[in-house]
Amino acid sequence: MTLSLGLAPRVARVSGQGQRWAEARTGALLSLPAALYFLVFWVVPFVSAVYLSFTSYDLAGAPEWTGLDNYRRMLEDPGFWNSARVTAVYTAGSVVPSIVLALAIAVPLSKPGRYNAFLRGLIMIPAAMPLVATSLTWSVIFAEDGLANALIGLAGAEPKPWLTDEGLALWALVIMTTWKHLGLFVIILTAGLQGLPLSVFEAAGLDGAGPVRIFFRITLPLLRRTLLFVLVIAVVGAMQSFVPAFLLTKGGPAGATEVLPLYMWATGFTFERMGYASAIAMVLLAAMLALSVAQFRVLRGGDDG
């Protein structure tokens, strides 16, 4: 009675018109709050920022349209190029080691076992430490008589002026941020690794493939989706990194750690050239978008099952 009446239209819902309609309706409903939020708090400010990049706005009065002036100014601004270079080095220098290290740790650490679980818990601790606390700790560690010099002293090396040597300061920053993010990457990669189908590994093992071969030929490709996520997050995070540099070195000895966000901050809030700062942000945005798109393409972890 009701059963047949009730079921009939619903069964048709598994595919076809009804299904598409139901999906669309629920999908739209579920994503509406997100859409609204991003519209108000990100898209609108973004459009403002784009607009501001073509103006001269000194945080007083109204912005004044200046066309491409800001972009032209960037070309001959040594501060911008220095920051761009620092950011590039910093990004490459922190992303590559963190991901490689994270993979190296995650693969053995993702094996089941209580001890491994225990270690995984511990490894997240740096990631949970608040940034202000972290920067303070590391500024002490990198001090003349701090832990860093004590450790390299054990290896027989001379104590180094980590934070005041313009060659070293950026690497000190890289060490600090890598330390902080490693745990997070390991956990995410572990999650990805533990989701991989055991059957494939068993089969490969039976075929006689060695662990290295398995890793490169099977694990990595299967891990694509997770790797993509970690990579994008790492790159974007590095290129946007502001607070660590701000707290640890404030742009470092002679601009050695003046990453682009820090330069933008100074331009916008210290020099009160918000228009120019916005233009720089646009350039950074373009760079990050390009990189993200490239990553999505290469790893194709977006949509396939």
């Binding site: 069964v11 819902r13 598994v14 999906e23 309706r25 629920t26 999908g27 579920l30 994503s31 709050p33 997100a34 859409a35 991003f38 108000v40 708090f41 990100w42 609108v44 400010p45 973004f46 403002s48 920022a49 501001l52 945080l59 740790i105 053995p108 993702s110 270690l119 995984r120 511990l122 997240m124 601790i125 740096p126 949970a128 430490m129 608040p130 940034l131 202000v132 606390a133 972290t134 303070l136 700790t137 590391w138 560690i141 001090a143 997070l184 999650a191 533990q194 993509l228 994008v232 997050i233 946007q240 502001f242 933008m264 916008g268 918000m274 700062a277 942000a281 945005l285 990050m288 993200s292």
Partner: protein, 266 residues
């Protein structure tokens, strides 16, 4: 082989935790002279803690941080779960565009967005309020991205069979999607909590009433211009690390056990 692996891993973790220990040691320093050592003076540490809670305004900052971080984390999880699942499993017009926009905002620098966002919040009348500090950050591209990636791996068979059984899409989301995504959601909760716990700039700029200030702002207060006791500041920093760490250990089961989604594949 297994033992070797275990030892190496243990060493790696130990080295990673050295800075944390260093911080504890520094917190018990009484002045700038004995920072180098790794020694540890419990009574001094205790004195610092007492000082902070007595006159530092710390309990207030702590409370504010809890309100902000918990509030944001909860909202984040709910809204990202919905959006992430929808983007992964439901086809609807504009889903591609929405996802592109969301991931695009990852690349937008918070610094230049700061002033426009401030003006929007001001227009809403939310300056100097908790909602002014919470709502602009109640979602993140990271959250939606994370959920979507994990939602993509939800076992199709389960969803399909639920549809065949006649469940509505909403029901499928709530009864199947969310439970399966729970580890990811809890991880997201933790991560957002951590991220917001650290948020220094926005609360500083939006709140003019120090009664609303969260810990990071309070902490940078301690580092007044040229004179600060590093032991005291370090202790303060340590205290700010306690709640996130506690939360982390509490939720450990979920991400340590692995964010696997259902046992279908295995």
């Amino acid at each position: 082989m297994k033992v070797l692996r275990g030892t190496v891993l243990t060493l790696v973790v130990a080295v990673m935790l050295l800075p944390v220990y260093a911080m504890i040691a520094v917190s018990s320093a009484s002045d700038a002279s004995d920072l180098g050592g790794l020694s540890f003076d419990v009574s001094q540490l205790g004195a610092h803690v007492a000082q902070l809670f007595g006159q530092g305004g710390f309990p207030l900052y702590l409370r504010n941080s809890l309100i902000l971080s918990l509030g944001i984390a909860v909202l984040e999880v709910i809204l990202s779960a919905a959006a992430g699942y929808a983007l992964a499993q439901l086809r609807f017009p504009g889903s591609r565009a929405l996802f592109a926009v969301i991931v695009g905002t990852l690349s937008l620098s918070p610094i230049v967005v700061l002033v426009p966002m401030y003006l929007i919040v001001k227009a809403l009348g939310w300056i100097d309020t908790f909602q002014g500090m919470i709502v602009p950050f109640m979602m993140s591209a990271f959250g939606v991205f994370l959920v979507r990636q994990f939602a993509l791996a939800l076992p199709r068979e389960l969803l399909l069979s639920a549809r065949v059984d006649g469940a509505s899409e909403l029901r499928i989301f709530a009864r199947i999607g969310v439970p399966l995504l729970r580890p990811a959601l809890l991880t997201l909760f933790l991560l957002q909590f951590l991220a917001q716990w650290d948020n220094l700039l926005w609360p500083l700029i939006v709140a003019n009433n120090p009664g609303l200030w969260p810990l990071p702002v309070g902490l940078s207060q301690l580092q007044t211009e040229y004179d600060f006791s590093i032991g005291l500041v370090s202790t303060a920093a340590l205290i700010t690390a306690v709640p996130p760490l506690a939360l982390m250990f509490l939720l450990q089961r979920y991400y340590v056990a692995g964010l696997t989604l259902g046992g279908v594949r295995k």
